[in-house]
């Protein structure tokens, strides 16, 4: 997939097959996944991932590709969801006949309409003004959703039934596995379309305006219009994601368009890496996993997510994808192998330190929240006494010894890294 990440190059010189390989791989992966994770929760998690992948990619059309920092992207996602669920109900009531699996189109259209309306005044500038307008519009919409009950259904939201309407080859999408394939199909189509959009003049100029809005005006493009086109497209795809949400959950509520959802999509895109096309995909997958798996094991998972987010912003602004792409130079020079040992050498103490920190937080949390006399807690299957001196010595030893050893190993890693990347790395992938 790294071909996709590159802001790639010249003409149609590359053979068609090579261009298509990652896409075929993507398709096969989508088809094969439910056979690997066939459990109920596995399917459910993957459905959620699919929806978030589209949503996060649509967000990145703004932030990563267009340089527009939005704090209100959930508006289009939510409105798309509400519109779709209303249409689901019209179909159920027999108001008109329409196949249920195409419902997300309505979500996309309402997203597009609102993209046009809001984009017409918000895309005049990028930067802080854009961010503030998006915040204001987001808050307005979220507050209105609780006031206008007829459309938004108040805090109960609006629910629908996806099993009505014309069926597709005898399937009524009652089962989760059917919905999985439906979402996978939509994911494949929309991801392809969004990638292709980034390769059109409008998409390329969005990058140019992000890099240098002024200069773009001196090659004939109005920065406002360039942003506007991206903004509308982004609203459209966010609306489709909302429509899929409506199909999957059969309910859409106020939280689909509130500030929390807007914040979540920013977080997903940023952790994944906004500078790369596949960054948001990685972010969406990772965040969904954190949300649905980590939260099963610990009450304080949001604390970990917060720490991860802040550390990413500080030290890895190019996101997780950026870290992976950083290795491409060494990979091409076939020197990646020389990094394995140094990574192991630093990885073990670093893991020990992280485990220590996590154990430290978890134990404090346990001491604070468990009921009186319950001092026994378990972490990763290890049971210990949260009030015991020995446990605390072990935890602190993990943190400090691990931290100390990690620090000591940093130097050798840096050396190994430099050796592996000599002659000086020419490319760092596309910018961030």
């Amino acid at each position: 997939m790294s071909e996709i990440a590159k802001t790639s190059s010249s003409a149609a010189s590359r053979p068609l097959l090579k261009t298509l390989t990652p896409w075929i791989g993507f398709l096969i992966l989508l088809l094969a996944l439910p056979n690997i994770f066939s459990s109920n929760s596995g399917l459910y998690t993957m459905n959620l991932m699919g929806i978030f992948i589209i949503f996060a990619l649509s967000y990145n059309m703004l932030l990563g590709q267009g340089g527009m920092l939005s704090f209100g992207h959930a508006v289009y996602f939510g409105l798309g969801g509400f519109m779709s669920v209303h249409f689901m109900n019209y179909i159920e009531d027999g108001a008109f006949v329409f196949p249920m699996y195409l419902i997300p189109i309505f979500g996309g259209l309402i997203g597009l309409v609102f993209g046009i309306i809001i984009g017409s005044f918000s895309t005049r500038r990028a930067g802080t003004v854009f961010a503030m307008i998006s915040l204001g519009v987001g808050e307005l919409m979220a507050s209105s959703s609780l006031i206008f009950v007829a459309f938004f259904g108040g805090e109960e939201g609006v629910s629908g039934d996806r099993t009505t309407g014309p069926e597709l080859a005898g399937i009524n999408f009652g089962q989760d596995i059917h919905i999985y394939y439906l979402i996978a199909a939509w994911v494949f189509v929309t991801v392809t379309l969004m990638y292709l959009f980034s390769r059109t003049p409008a998409g390329r100029m969005a990058n140019a305006v992000r890099d240098n809005a002024e200069r773009a005006e001196f090659v004939g493009y109005s920065q406002r219009k360039v942003r506007f086109v991206s903004f509308c497209a982004s609203g459209f795809f966010a609306g489709i994601a909302g429509g899929l949400f409506a199909l999957n959950f059969e309910i859409v509520t106020e939280e689909n368009l509130n500030a929390l959802t807007s914040g979540t999509v920013l977080l997903m895109a940023y952790i994944g890496g906004v500078g790369f096309f596949i960054g948001p995909i990685v972010g969406a997958v990772l965040f969904t996993l954190l949300q649905s798996i980590l939260s099963n094991y610990t009450d304080i998972w949001q604390l970990y997510v917060g720490i991860l987010f802040v550390l990413t912003v500080m030290y890895v602004p190019q996101g997780l994808t950026g870290i992976i792409v950083m290795h491409s130079a060494a990979w091409r020079m076939k020197r990646l192998g020389s990094l394995i040992l140094p990574y192991i050498r630093i990885g073990i103490p670093a893991l020990a330190m992280l485990a220590g920190i996590a154990a430290f937080l978890e134990t404090i949390h346990h001491v604070r929240t468990a009921f009186e006399g319950d001092t026994l807690m378990s972490l990763m299957g290890i049971e210990f006494d949260s009030h015991g001196v020995v446990s605390w010595i072990v935890i602190l030893a993990l943190v400090f010894v691990g931290g100390f050893l990690t620090r000591m190993q940093l130097r050798q890693l840096r050396d190994a890294w430099e050796t592996a990347n000599k002659p000086p790395a020419q490319t760092e992938g596309s910018g961030s």
Partner: protein, 250 residues
Amino acid sequence: MTSAIELQDLRKSFGPTEIIRGVNLTIEEGERHAIIGPNGAGKSTLFHLISGRYNVSGGSVKLHGENISNLPPFEIYRKGLSRSFQVTNIFPNMSVFENVRCGLMWVKDYKYSFWHLVDRQRELNERTAEVIEEIGLTSRQHIPAGVLTYAEQRALEIGIAAAGGADVIMLDEPTAGMSHSETDQAIALIRKITVGKTLVMVEHDMGVVFDLADRISVLVYGEIIASDTPENIRNSKAVQEAYLGAEAEE
């Protein structure tokens, strides 16, 4: 025949300070015109007024006889005027190839299209490759523009400005900060890309000016004090006095 650029009593003030104080200037089509003058004379401001970066405070700018004062930059570009910048002004995170291609897309009539794939537009890409060949960056075309050397970025700057084939090209100090050999290359490049076109340039390096220009205008304190052929300017007492006097005052 109308002239390429015609400035009539052009004025620009920032607050109470008037920077451009009634400039009248006509640049004919096909002419290579240089604007010289001491620091702070308003040369860059004049460029910004013509290219639409600043709004004018008074007077008018005409391009091929059409009034373009206060049009946004992209409108002016679409009417056939392209420019480069004194401080390098490129798209740093995009590759050299893409930088140049951005300078071509509007002219090739793609506009805000989201149904063409840029990689499949053979003519666009071939033309881009040609321009890159001309500015001598073929071997560096896949590198992000932000990591080019200074001289390469200056060449790219000119390449973006010239790529679209605008018939009026304005270059703001194209050789600033270059070494001798680099300057020579730049002159050759400018000569090559402006064949049959109107060139307006601001330049400090008198060698470059006298080498390239057909006519020279001298801007001092926001006014044109002379506009003539290089020889006449070189020999003009008034210019020497005003210019040197101004220099001395700084």
